[in-house]
Every structure is written in structure tokens, then in C-alpha cells.
């Protein structure tokens, strides 16, 4: 890559425009925290410049630059529509600097809530996976009950897990355990169904190959069928994970005392829309990061596939 290809990019022009418009005098009557936004975007630009120096592949660099370009463009419109020309209602639409400022100010509270949300999700998710995967392997492998089980699964997975919440509240002592219970149900059925369809789809040639090596029943399930159906299992897990986040935040908005759903609901009840938007953005980032890490785990465990 030539130096021009590395550094002469639309993204940087957008950055200069974004920086430039910060110096237009505010017409909003509310505090806009322009300095916070300038620090934030300068930090982002520094990261992008560092990436431009170090990243070797032109394709990955372009991807990062384009993503940041979109963020800059969005921030330009947001800044102009709120702080600078006050086109939008400034009670409902805080200036971007304000959101950045709020995030920094609330970081400890946000951190506690994120940890609480993640803890609940993982508890329910891991519990479901640990039970659903071995059960799916056993039942899928015993061909006779396999097809019966798939009908039962279809029935239960067609019940939207959120409707279990009222019953869960009656059954379980704490609201947190209700959240875990609902996430468990939301994850259990897709993972169980994915595992079973994985088992039923294992190539007969692989099974023959294992049989002629005289593998024990236990090895057949965990050393042969489990890896051979891993891709389908991950499909189920991905589905479970994305439903889990929807359910968790819904549950937190109904009755929890902490978690990101609670944070958003609590402050929007008070009309604090700066914190509401901050909370929304944080949830977005957390979900993206968790999904990304989960995908990394998946590609690591499936690295033997083409």
C-alpha cells in the first residue's frame, strides 16, 4: 500500500469537518459538552491513524476506515441537528457530547449494570448449553426416540420464552432467578434442536470410520458425534444467545433492580433521555462484543473446517 492509499481517505476529511463544526457557536439552550465530544473523536481518530500505520491488509484497513467514516458522518448530522442548529427537541435529543459526558460520569454505575446483565445471561446460557448438548447427543443418537423428540422440541420452541416470565415470578424466589430461568428456556430449545439435527446429519461415512475403529459408546458420542455436529450446535447457540439478550433486557425492564435494561427503563421513566440513549448505545456495544467473542470461539473450535 502506498502512503497515499494509507492516509488520504474520505474518513479523515469527515473527521476534519466534524472537528470544524464543533467551533460553530451553540444554539441549544442546554449544556452540550462539546469538549467531551472533541476528546472522544480525537481519541477515535488517533486509533484510526494508528491502525492505518500498522494494518497490512488493504481490505481490513478499508473496512475499519469505512466503519469510522459512517460514525463520523452520523456524528456530523447529530451535532448539527442538536447542539448547533437545535432542529430537534433538545429535551428528547441530547447533543452527542452530552452522551459522551454522561457515559464517563456514569461509568461505574454502567459497569455494575453491564456485569449484572452479563452474569445473568451467562448463567442461564451456560446452564442451558451444559444440559442441552449432552441430552441432544444422547437422544439424537438413539434413533428411535429421535424423531419423536424433534416434534416435542418444535412444540416447546414455538412458545415465545417471554411468556414464561409471569409464571417464573410465581415460581421463583428472586427476580434474578426468573431472568436466568427465562434465558435458560430461550437457549435450551434451540441448542437442543441444533444438537439433535447435527447428530442426525452426521455423515454415515464418518460413523463407519469410527465403528471400524471399535470406539466405545462414550467415545462415539463425545469424540466423534460431538465434533461432527459442532457446527449445528453452534447454530443453535447463536440463536439462543441473540434471543437471550432480547429476553434479558425485556425482563430487566419489567422488574429487575439492576442490569442495562433496568438502567434504560429507570432513567427514561424520569425523562432523563441522555442516560437512556447512553444506555442504548452501551447495550449495543456489549452485545456486539459478546457476539464477536463468541464467534471467535466458534471459529477456533471449528478451525478444522475448510
Amino acid at each position: 500500500m502506498t502512503a497515499a492509499k494509507r492516509f488520504v481517505r474520505v474518513t479523515h476529511i469527515l473527521f476534519i469537518i466534524l472537528l470544524g463544526i464543533q467551533f460553530i457557536p451553540d444554539s441549544s439552550t442546554k449544556e452540550t459538552f462539546t469538549a467531551s465530544l472533541i476528546i472522544f473523536i480525537s481519541g477515535l481518530e488517533a486509533i484510526v491513524l494508528a491502525a492505518s500505520v500498522f494494518i497490512k491488509k488493504e481490505k481490513s484497513l478499508s473496512l475499519i476506515l469505512d466503519i469510522v467514516g459512517f460514525i463520523y458522518a452520523f456524528l456530523i448530522i447529530w451535532t448539527l441537528a442538536t447542539a448547533k442548529f437545535n432542529i430537534l427537541n433538545d429535551l428528547l435529543f441530547p447533543a452527542p457530547g452530552k452522551v459522551v459526558h454522561q457515559f464517563v460520569e456514569d461509568r461505574d454505575k454502567i459497569w455494575v449494570n453491564v456485569i449484572s446483565s452479563l452474569g445473568t445471561t451467562f448463567e442461564g446460557f451456560i446452564l442451558a448449553a451444559v444440559i442441552a448438548i449432552p441430552l441432544g447427543l444422547f437422544i439424537g443418537w438413539s434413533a428411535r426416540v429421535g424423531s419423536a423428540a424433534s416434534y416435542i422440541t418444535k412444540f416447546f420452541s414455538s412458545i415465545p420464552p417471554i411468556v414464561y416470565i409471569p409464571y417464573g415470578i410465581a415460581l421463583l424466589p428472586t427476580f434474578r432467578s426468573v431472568s436466568v430461568f427465562v434465558i435458560f428456556l430461550a437457549t435450551f430449545w434451540p441448542v437442543f434442536a441444533g444438537t439433535m439435527s447435527g447428530v442426525l446429519g452426521v455423515d454415515k461415512k464418518i460413523l463407519d470410520s469410527a465403528k471400524v475403529l471399535n470406539v466405545s459408546r462414550c467415545e462415539m458420542l463425545f469424540s466423534v458425534i460431538l465434533p461432527a455436529s459442532l457446527q449445528q450446535i453452534f447454530l443453535g447457540c447463536n440463536q439462543g444467545l441473540s434471543v437471550s439478550f432480547i429476553l434479558l433486557t425485556s425482563a430487566e425492564m419489567i422488574g429487575a433492580r439492576d442490569g442495562m435494561g433496568y438502567y434504560v427503563k429507570y432513567y427514561s421513566d424520569f425523562g432523563d433521555y441522555t442516560r437512556t440513549i447512553t444506555g442504548l448505545l452501551v447495550i449495543g456495544f456489549v452485545v456486539i462484543i459478546v457476539t464477536f467473542l463468541f464467534n471467535m470461539l466458534q471459529s477456533y473450535l471449528l478451525r478444522w473446517k475448510k
Binding site: D208, S209, A210, V212, L213, N214, V224, L230, W304
Partner: protein
């Protein structure tokens, strides 16, 4: 004559496909001596792979019996090493791990720490030194079959069953693999040779490798003829194919295969 290592007696196998049952093999009988290399050839659908499935223990016959060392065969067993056309190796294990797994299953006397060394030794025998950490999907089809052969040999079984192992390999690599197998099986002449049953539809492959060739006829699969391969070992392909004797032997085998086809198509109109 000694008793045979593998004795197949009046073997009859029925196959069910789409709820229709048909006779895949009918009264097939032959024996394979200890240390003998026997190929089974025949047109597609003659039941040659079914025959091997029975020997592997994956399929139970409807009638007749298979005896190994005088004992009736029941199910799969690690005294028989198997190389399939596809998926002999587990795709989620590296080449070396695959071989180690085979050793673990077949040789209980080998310590865990020893397995890695043996795996490396057999990888080098098949020319795959340095490929131990690769996954099967990272290897070419020919290299995968080399690794499958390495595993079967590392399991140190007396019997080797090979089900069209080179059919999916391109012509050039197929020749190389045939020569590799020939060299490994013939060995230096000191150690005991393995008893091999090798299924193929490639006549030249069968001639190059085998002591005897069993020609099957289709619908239902029956033994048409069992032919002794009259060529001295160690064999060299280049020398072998130049001789007139080879040409005559090859056309005899061809006629055994194709006369059968001609009869089936309907006799008179077919001129071969």
C-alpha cells in the same frame, strides 16, 4: 495347504434400499491366505463394496459365514485396519492425532507417550513428514489417503481392508500411491506381510498389487472367476506393463469383466 486367514463361505447379502430388498451377493466363497494380497474387481453395482462392508463388520450377511483365523466374524474389530475411499480420517483431528487415535484403539500395549513417536514414524513412511499438525481439510486428496494408510499401518493389524482407496484420486497421484502401497506392503521381505483385501474397479491397479484377483459378476454378485496373478515380486510398473504377458493377462481380465456385461446387455447386437 495352510488354513486361510480369511475364509468366506457361501456368503449371501441382501440389501434394502427404498423399501426394496435385493440380493447384493449370492453364495460368494473364497479364501485369503495369510500374507496374501487379494483384489476384488467387478463392474459398479456388483456388490464388491458390500462384500468389504461385511468383512469390516459393518453389515451382517443374510446367509453364509466369514471366518478369520477359523473364528466366525462378529461385528467390527481392530484386528482389521480399514482404509475407505472418503473420510477414513476424522476431519476435526490433525493428521498425527488421527494416527494416534488409531493406535490407541488397536494397540493397548502401546503407552500414551509412545503413540506420538509411532505416528511420526508412519507419517514419514508415507512421505508426510512435517504434515502431522495439519488437518485433513488442509491436505490434498492424495495426502489424505497417504495419512489413512499410515494410520492403518500404524495400528499394526494383520489384516488390511481397502475399499477403493485411490478411486477419487487423480490419475498421476493414483499411480504414485499404488507404488507407495506396493512398496510398503512388499517391505524388505523380512517382516511378515499383511493380509490385504483390496476392492477396486481399476484392472491395472489390481494386477500391479495383487497375488490373486477375484472377479465378481453383478445382479446378484457372484464370483465369476478367481485368477492368479503370474508376475514375480518385487514388481515394477514400468517393466511390468511393457511385457506381452501383461497385455495378454490384462485382456483376459477385461474379457472376464466385459463378457459378463455383453451378456447382460442382450447378446447378439453387442460387438466388443
Amino acid at each position: 495347504m495352510n488354513t486361510n486367514k480369511i475364509e468366506i463361505k457361501d456368503l449371501t447379502v441382501n440389501y434394502t434400499e427404498n423399501k426394496r430388498s435385493f440380493n447384493a451377493l449370492h453364495n460368494v466363497s473364497f479364501g485369503v491366505g495369510s500374507g496374501e494380497f487379494v483384489s476384488v474387481i467387478g463392474a459398479s453395482g456388483c456388490g464388491k463394496s458390500t462384500l468389504l462392508s461385511v468383512l469390516e463388520g459393518l453389515y451382517s450377511p443374510a446367509g453364509g459365514s466369514v471366518e478369520i483365523d477359523g473364528k466366525e466374524l462378529r461385528g467390527t474389530g481392530t484386528e482389521r485396519g480399514v482404509v475407505f475411499q472418503h473420510y477414513s480420517l476424522f476431519p476435526w483431528m490433525t493428521t498425527k492425532k488421527n494416527i494416534e487415535f488409531g493406535i490407541k484403539q488397536a494397540r493397548h500395549d502401546v503407552k500414551r507417550s509412545e503413540r506420538g513417536r509411532i505416528a511420526e514414524e508412519f507419517l514419514s513412511k508415507v512421505g508426510l513428514t512435517g504434515f502431522g499438525e495439519k488437518y485433513p481439510s488442509q491436505l490434498s486428496g492424495g495426502m489424505q489417503q497417504r495419512a489413512a494408510i499410515a494410520r492403518a499401518l500404524a495400528m499394526d493389524t494383520q489384516i488390511l481392508l481397502m475399499d477403493e482407496p485411490f478411486s477419487a484420486i487423480d490419475a498421476k497421484n493414483r499411480v504414485i500411491l499404488q507404488e507407495l502401497l506396493l512398496k510398503l506392503w512388499e517391505g524388505s521381505g523380512h517382516e511378515e506381510r499383511k493380509t490385504v483385501v483390496f476392492v477396486t474397479h481399476d484392472i491395472d491397479e489390481a494386477i500391479l498389487l495383487s497375488d490373486r484377483i477375484v472377479v465378481l459378476t453383478a445382479h446378484p454378485g457372484t464370483v465369476n472367476e478367481i485368477v492368479n496373478v503370474p508376475f514375480e515380486r518385487p514388481r515394477r510398473r514400468e517393466q511390468l506393463i511393457k511385457t506381452d504377458e501383461y497385455g495378454r493377462f490384462r485382456s483376459r481380465l477385461l474379457s472376464l469383466l466385459y463378457n459378463d456385461v455383453a451378456e447382460r446387455i442382450g447378446g447378439d447386437e453387442v460387438v466388443l
